[in-house]
Structure formats: C-alpha cells, structure tokens
Symmetry: C2
Subunit: 383 residues, 2 copies
Amino acid sequence: MKSITVLGAGMIGSAIAGDLSRDYNVSVADFDADKLQNISGRYKVEIIAADLLNVDNLNNVIAGADIVVGAMPGFMGFSILRSVINAGKNIVDISFFNENPFLLDQLAKEKNVTAVVDCGVAPGLSNMAVGYHYHLMKVYEFICLVGGLPLIRSMPFQYKAPFSPVDVIEEYTRPARIVENGNIIIKPALSESELIEIDNVGTLEAFNSDGLRTLTETLNIPYMKEKTLRYPGHAAQMQLLKECGFFSRDEIEVKGIKISPMEVTARLLFPLWKYNKGEKDFTYMRMDVKGKAKDKVVHHRYSLFDVCDQSSEISSMARTTAYTCCAVVNLVLNNDFNQIGICPPEYVGGEEKCFKKVLNYLEERNVKVEHEVLSGKESRQEK
Amino acid sequence: MKSITVLGAGMIGSAIAGDLSRDYNVSVADFDADKLQNISGRYKVEIIAADLLNVDNLNNVIAGADIVVGAMPGFMGFSILRSVINAGKNIVDISFFNENPFLLDQLAKEKNVTAVVDCGVAPGLSNMAVGYHYHLMKVYEFICLVGGLPLIRSMPFQYKAPFSPVDVIEEYTRPARIVENGNIIIKPALSESELIEIDNVGTLEAFNSDGLRTLTETLNIPYMKEKTLRYPGHAAQMQLLKECGFFSRDEIEVKGIKISPMEVTARLLFPLWKYNKGEKDFTYMRMDVKGKAKDKVVHHRYSLFDVCDQSSEISSMARTTAYTCCAVVNLVLNNDFNQIGICPPEYVGGEEKCFKKVLNYLEERNVKVEHEVLSGKESRQEK
C-alpha cells in the first residue's frame, strides 16, 4: 500500500487525511499536538508532531512518503513546498501562498517532481474547468464566483472562517489580479462589490479577490476575473477595518509598545469567526466559461452547491477543497497525471481524462458539480 | 474687570476662552503647551501650562478667578470639578464625565458654590429647554435628537469628531438611560437606530446615547429620550467595532504583550476623525417637548441648525457648545443665576429670565434656535 504524508492538521488537512486513509497509509504532521490527537481519534492515521519549518524535521517526516500533501496556512506554504521539491517528492498543495509558484518550476524539473499547486476548490477545481475548455474552444471569458458561508447568518459578520482566518484576511488585503482585454489589471481586494442572485441561495455580494493567480500567466484569455461571495454587507465591514488600518502588519507604537494592529485584530476577530460545533456551512461556486467553437458562441456554466456533511462533521469547505485535492493525489499516484514541474490545476484539467476523473471522484463523495451549456439566445441576453 | 479661568484648551475650551475674552480677563490652563500657544496667538488671554490633575497646581491656577470654566475631556472632568468646588470657586462645566454630579451637591452647598454642570449644547441647551417648559405645563414627553457632522461626507466613516474623540467613543459605549412610562430603562448605546428626515439636511440616522443624564433624576416626565444623529450607516460601523471588542479597555495579551484594544483603536481611528483645516461642520438639534397646559396638548419644538463660522475658524460644535456655556458664565457672574449646589442646566432653564438670556446670547452670536408650537392636528398626526 502506498504511503502519503499530509503536512498540516487544520480544518482542510484533517479532511484530506481522513479521505486518503481509506485507501492509503497516511501520516499527518503538524506543530499542534491537540489537532493531531483530534485527527488520530477520528481516522486510522499516523500522527507526527513536528516544526515543519525546520528542514531536517520536514525531511524526516516525508522520507517514507510516495507523495506529499501540503495543507499549511499560506504564509508557510511556499517555503515548505520548496523543501518538499528539494527532497525529490511529488506534492499536491492547497496552501494559499503569496509567492509565484513558477519560481520553483526549474527546481521541480531538475528534481523530476510533479508539484500540483493551488489544488483546492478555488483556486483548484475552477482552474481545472477553464483549463479543460481552453483546449476545446477559443475561450474569451472566464468568470468565477465562489464563497464558503455559514448556513445561519448571525450579526454582525454573518460570516465564519471555513479555513485559516489569516488566509481569509489575505483574501481581503492582497491586491486582486483581473484580466481585461488581455491585460492584467490590479484592483484592490474587496472592490467592485455587486449583488448577485443565486437560485436556492438568495442574494449574495461578490467582490474582487486574487483568485486567478496562475491563470493570468498560463492561459491566454482576454477577460478573466474571480470574485468572492459573501452575504451582503460583509465587504463594507471588511473595507472599514482595512481602511482604518486594523489589517495592517506595520507596527505602530501604542503607549511605548510596538504592536502590529493585525495581531490585535486577529486576537479579537478570529474567535468570533470560528464555527461552533455542529454549525453548518455551505460552499457555492459558479464558473462561467465562454468561447467560440466552430464559429458558434458557447457558454459553459458549472455550478457547485454543497452543504456540510453533518454525519461526519466535515465542513463543506473541507469537503470540496479536500476531495478535489485527494482526487489529484490519486491521479498522480496512479500515473494518470504525470507532468513534471510546477503544475497549476489548469494543467490537470487540460487533460480530459483527468478532469472527468476529478468530477467523478467528487460525485462519489456527494459533491455535485452541475454543468449547463447556455448558448445562443440565453448567452446573448446575459451580455 | 472680572477674571475667569478656563480649564482645557481643546476645541471647545479655546472657543470659550475666545468668546469670554471680549468682556473679561481670561486665563486658559492646559497640559498641552502647543494648544495654549495656538490660543494665545488668536485671543487676548493669559496662558498657563500645568498638569491640572495635581490639586496644588489647580488651586494656583484658579486662585484669582471669579469663576472657573471646566472644559476637560470627560475622564478627567469629575475629579477636576470636585477640586474646583473644594476651592470654593463657582464653576460652569461642559465635560462629559461618567460620574453622577450630585455626588458633589453637598460639598458645593457647604462651600456655597454654584456649579453648573453639563452646560454645552446637549446636554446643556437641551436641558434648559425642557426645564423651562417643565414649570409652565405638565410635560409628558421629551425627545432630543442631536449631532455634529461634517458638511462633506467622506467614506468610510462620513464622520469627524467635533470634540474629544475619546468622548465620542464614550457616547458609543456608555449604556443609554431612557425614561419610559416613568421608569429609567437602560439600553445599549447605538441601539434602536432609525432613519429621520430633516429639512435642508436630508436623511440622518438616530440611535440611543446617554444624553438625558441628570434629567432622569431632576424632572418627573414619563417619556424621555435622547438620540445621537449621524449619517446613515455609522451606527452599524460603530456597532461592528464595539462587538468585536475594539472599544474595550480590558487588556488582552497579544504575543506576550498586554494591551487595551481601545488604545490601538484610538491610535488608528482618531487621526481619521480629525477635521482638516477649513473642513466645515454643522450641528443639528431638535428638541420636542410635549405636555398639557389648561387641558390642551401643546407640542413645543426647538430646532437648531448651525454651520461653522468660516471667518473665525471656529467649528459649529465649538460655537454652539461654547456660547451656551459662556451665556451661563455671564448669568452666574451677573447674579442672574445664583442657585447654590450642583445645578444641571434644567435648573438654569427653569428660570424664565435665564432661558431667554441664553437664547439671546446665542442669537447675538448667530446661533439660531427656531421655536415652533405644533399642536392640535399636527401633533396628533405625528403620534
């Protein structure tokens, strides 16, 4: 039986470990012994408490692995990815890091490593969908709307963080790259908030976030954007905190003490953003891919609406992110996907067989992705 | 010529000093030498740099005064008021302190001192209006709406602080006392936000704040409330910061450092709330006093709409607050008002001659208070 090491025992890492443990020998490594204990009580996995930023520790932890899964908070993601590649191990990574992954492409090729990055739901599944159609038609527009939200709304935030809250704030502060008329345009995160009506969900607001990431480099599509979905009002709240400086990491002096406002904000906000036990979340994603095939305009729409799995206490965000990641882990282990180097998910989706297998893998776990072809009249009306 | 000492050289204190310096020998004391320099450049006043929380300093500063004006931030107000009374000096005070001023009533009577407290625009002028009518009819309802706002609205706050920003936050955190059916009800500050249409101003929002203060004890009126006015949306913003704990003075530990979130918030927010040079403000106050006189329902409405004095660079909040205070300083100096003990402004307004002189004093300075009698049909429609 093949062996997998999952780095990170957080909300998503634990769901990945649980899913993969059905078919593989899985070990999970994290600095946090409590999180590890919690996982080992739920799944048949080996647990390893270790500081993974220490390269020797990391090398020990992954030594026996056939493949590694990276599920660390964004700020540690890039450094750990580099170490894993350096160790010559294949990796599927979901961390939302700031650095450009292609900086490691040459290293990965030298080490003959397959490193799939950004491999969650969005970025992740969204990239696969557009990557899939990119090879079948001349795509001129890609729009992705995505959000993970609590089913029950409570003031003031009507929001809970379904993954590392530090990475949520990253989404609210990192400038968003949009593609307009073939040019990369930088817009502020949280900008261009608009209301969107979604069947069975109601009105949500959508604002710019930096979700395109590698797509701006890998696919030549003149119009692309990703927007994050929240209940209406959230963007203004976050904008307020951001404009006041509460998200700033620059230290300020308060009564002679130097402190970063973000540290104080994290201390106050993150407990309020934590899902309570049994509190239900959902994930909604809509991907619109428009293009021309045989001189006809075709509009493909993928819609994902997923509610948490009450029985196994896995959140919807964990389900959709983890199972997408696990599907790709299987593709790499089974040699279905074997490109060498840094591989963003659009490379995976670009291989028809791989995209179909990912969708099947999700469907087996009851994560349903609806596909519609909207063309002709409907499509023109929408424009 | 009589001598007056003004304690506090802030936005309001300086306007008080300037106004009184036309007719009296005025000295101004403050800890902040820069503020004092600024005042001495504008008005013919003596300046004294001193830490007024030190009782010996304070006694020296007020030794030669015929009357003292207290214009300190709320958190220092009560302690300084006590010291001035202890020194046997009459005082007119505008500080928005938390303590019950009647705790000093016995001391003031022993010292034969007239101490008029809360003597600004609201509390202040508002108390005078209701105090005036209280002796002329059976008042059953008093509602005061009041706010000081920038004429030009800029996001995110659409707000600037026209007096000590620490005291603005006090208004947003101190529980509000309301009188309903003769009972004092405590409601959270910022609660019961409602939209109000005001002629020539537009739509503002009104929310509960603790503005009744002494009125809850001194007047037997079954329904009384004060609400603060802001541009719509402000209450929700403040509520957000409050609920997250950004206004809390309880220390939290951040990376081993103990810090009060309020200190961090003050550091970030207060620079954003500072009026720029030349930035115009206005004050709006509406006081509705309803009662029965000779078995007829009578509804008196006082409306004050005042815009800053561009020529002399005095803000509207400073004009309305300072000139009300100065009017009462004149009443006390001229023996028009000579009640001994702690005297809230409703005692001043309760003397017809005093109320009229205050309105005249304001009118001479172009602060116009419009008085309407709405009765019969209009009044009933409104209910």
